[in-house]
């Protein structure tokens, strides 16, 4: 299946601003991040030393924070849009 990933601010510079990821069906956020963070830079941006997602990383599925869904176990479906971004700083 194809998942659209949008990354913003510095995350967009490291991960790419907008990409289509080809994932196994029945993948979840965790699986998507493994593909997305294959490079050392990308991994360090998203994960801390103990392999946990850094506190300031926001991951949204179709506009909803994954914390309000099933966290990194949130299931993905073909066509999902995942947004990933650092703390907001508009205005």
């Amino acid at each position: 299946m194809i998942i659209k990933v949008k990354a913003f601010a510095r995350f967009g510079e490291v991960l790419g601003k907008e990409l289509d990821l080809e994932l196994d069906s029945r993948s979840d956020i965790d699986g998507m991040l493994s593909v997305l963070c294959a490079s050392r830079d990308a991994y360090d941006l998203i994960f801390d030393e103990s392999g946990r997602i850094r506190e300031y990383v926001n991951i949204l599925k179709r506009g909803r924070h994954i914390q309000s869904l099933d966290g990194i176990r949130t299931a993905l479906e073909d066509g999902d849009e995942i947004a990933i971004f650092p703390p907001v700083a508009g205005g």
């Binding site: 650092p86 703390p87 907001v88 508009g90 205005g91």
Partner: protein
Amino acid sequence: MITITEEDFNIDKILKDAKHPDDGAIVTFLGIVRDDGIAGMEIEAYTDLAMQELEKIEKEALERFDIRSLDVIHRTGTLSVSDNILLIVCGAPHRKDAFAACEYMIDELKKRVPVWKKELFKDGAGGKWVGEETE
């Protein structure tokens, strides 16, 4: 009305359109690029979600305060020092509500709306995303 755009805006026109016969006060917040020794600023938005979140904050403000209108325009793209970034216009019968709702909008916007700013260095060699120091 909520707008996210690369275009600059005409504040006179927006204020004229915002006026409602019940209004006695219109409070405006204009955010501009401050010269912190930078060449300018690049602004990026997650537009779909930013629109949704701004509309949500607008609705909250309309419920919380006695106001008649609350308009927001947020620009994106590359801006120079003193360029307009953001305009919030709030019309109300009385000034206290207009001030309070305008401040509510900007405070919540800064916390909740997915927009990011990159300060561009003067030597042309890249820049620094605002808020990065906390990462």
